[in-house]
């Protein structure tokens, strides 16, 4: 078997590990009282084993060597009035949204996925970009988890509603301006930068959320186990954060009202002026440290089993 593995150009160190694993397994089989022919039956011919291992290695090699260049402009759509809705629904692709000084939407991609799986349309002001659902696909075809997209929107054109949803890809949103902006994913990480919106909704189950330099009226961020890192946000009305176990870090951010709900996640803030704050947790704590003592922070309501709230320039509500 060693010879066979060498033929497959597997690295020496790997070969030794594979041989060791097989020695262990064959010893277990012998200890169970299996005969030599039964063992060959169970484990297969060494040549075949070596080939199977090499095959699964090659898949990885080609993936790792791949560098993303985003060289291919896939679709270009001319936009002359407004975009009333931009709805994007994907699976495991990484995607970046940007704005540019042009009057068209351009989609770039990189990766080996079958592009006929993606539908793009722009009708009556509605931009749709989605991946067709194919149940069971993962079991039939090689899984291309390394697809990447880049979508450029025209900077000057208004977007009323922007909505992205996907399962596991990472999402980056830069500079989008829209009435409502919603981004949701199950396990992907979300990074939001420089957006301007009335209503922002960002949610993830286990991915992390990073938000930076945004202007919003009301913002709600949801996560189950992902962490949140918020910096430099101007929130005119309200900030709502829901987390089960994810921690929250907020810096250089100001708003009128804040509601923070968590089970065990902690909130740490510096230069965070939450205005009136409602806080409920089981064991999560809130710790805010600010320089400016003139800005008033009111704790409207606090309900927590063992969590504490500490604000260094706090003004307590009577009772």
């Amino acid at each position: 078997m060693k010879n066979e593995l060498q033929k497959q150009k597997i690295e020496k160190q790997e070969i030794e590990e594979i041989i060791r694993d097989h020695e262990e397994m064959i010893n277990e089989a012998l200890a169970e009282g299996l005969s030599e022919t039964e063992i060959v039956d169970k484990f297969g011919e060494p040549e075949r084993v070596a080939k199977d291992i090499a095959d699964s290695n090659h898949v990885k090699d080609t993936q790792e060597n791949k560098k993303f260049s985003m060289a291919t402009a896939w679709k270009t759509i001319k936009v002359d009035s407004i975009i009333s809705s931009a709805i994007i629904s994907l699976l495991s692709e990484d995607i970046t949204y940007e704005t540019v000084n042009e009057d068209e939407i351009t989609i770039y991609y990189d990766g080996n996925e079958d592009m006929s799986l993606y539908d793009v349309s722009f009708e009556n002001g509605i931009f749709n970009f989605k991946r067709r659902q194919e149940f069971g696909r993962i079991f039939f075809k090689k899984h291309n988890s390394d697809m990447q997209f880049l979508v450029k929107f025209p900077k000057k054109i208004e977007i009323h509603e922007f909505k992205h949803s996907s399962v596991s890809g990472d999402i980056t949103v830069k500079g989008i301006i829209g009435d409502t902006i919603g981004v949701s994913t199950t396990s992907g990480d979300i990074s939001v930068n420089g957006i301007v919106t009335k209503t922002g909704k960002i949610s993830s189950v286990s991915g992390d959320i990073v938000m930076n330099r945004c202007i919003v009226e009301t913002l709600s961020i949801n996560t189950v186990s992902g962490d949140m890192d918020v910096d430099n946000l101007a929130i005119n009305e309200e900030l709502r954060i829901d987390s089960v176990s994810g921690d929250v870090e907020i810096n250089n951010t100001e708003t009128k009202r804040t509601a923070f709900k968590t089970v065990s996640g902690d909130m740490q803030g510096s230069e965070f002026y939450p205005g009136e704050i409602t806080f409920s947790s089981v064991s999560g704590d809130v710790d805010i440290r600010n320089q400016d003592q003139s800005k008033i922070i009111k704790v409207l309501k606090k309900s927590s089993v063992s969590g504490t709230i500490q604000i260094n320039n706090i003004q307590r509500n009577k009772n």
Binding site: R20, V49, K60, F139
Partner: protein, 128 residues
């Protein structure tokens, strides 16, 4: 069987075995091959590939068999991958059953429907 399809199913089974408990290679192989007709040369490369991809971590533990055993432990990303794969499987198999159940759920029902249908076509042919 389509090899990619088989691979996907074995991946799901290997992940599922290790969701419950840490196990050594031979144990995983034995557990799976007691239910399905697959042998080591299908399972080991998948176990190894999933480990390299970070879905399992490994550690050695002494055994009374002599040499220490290499145990596999599922990682957080492994668990997440398992949930994704399992979800996909449920939807896929659900789709298959929706198709199958159109023809009836139980064998008797399927047989009855088939007999009714063949009786009809026979009648048509003979012109009755």
């Amino acid at each position: 069987m389509n090899s990619q399809f088989k691979r996907g199913i074995i991946e799901l089974c290997v992940l599922s075995e290790l969701v419950g408990d840490d196990m050594y290679g031979y144990m995983v192989i034995n557990n799976i091959s007691s239910h399905l007709d697959v042998n080591e040369n299908t399972i080991y490369p998948i176990l190894r590939r999933l480990t390299i991809d970070g879905y399992f971590s490994t550690y050695l533990e002494e055994s009374n068999q002599g040499a220490p055993r290499k145990y596999y432990r599922i990682t957080d990303s492994g668990f997440q991958y398992y949930m994704e794969l399992r979800n996909e499987w449920d939807r896929f198999i659900g789709g298959v059953y929706e198709i199958l159940n159109q023809g009836g759920k139980k064998n008797e029902e399927i047989l009855r429907k088939f007999e009714e249908r063949t009786a009809k076509t026979k009648n048509r042919k003979t012109g009755n």
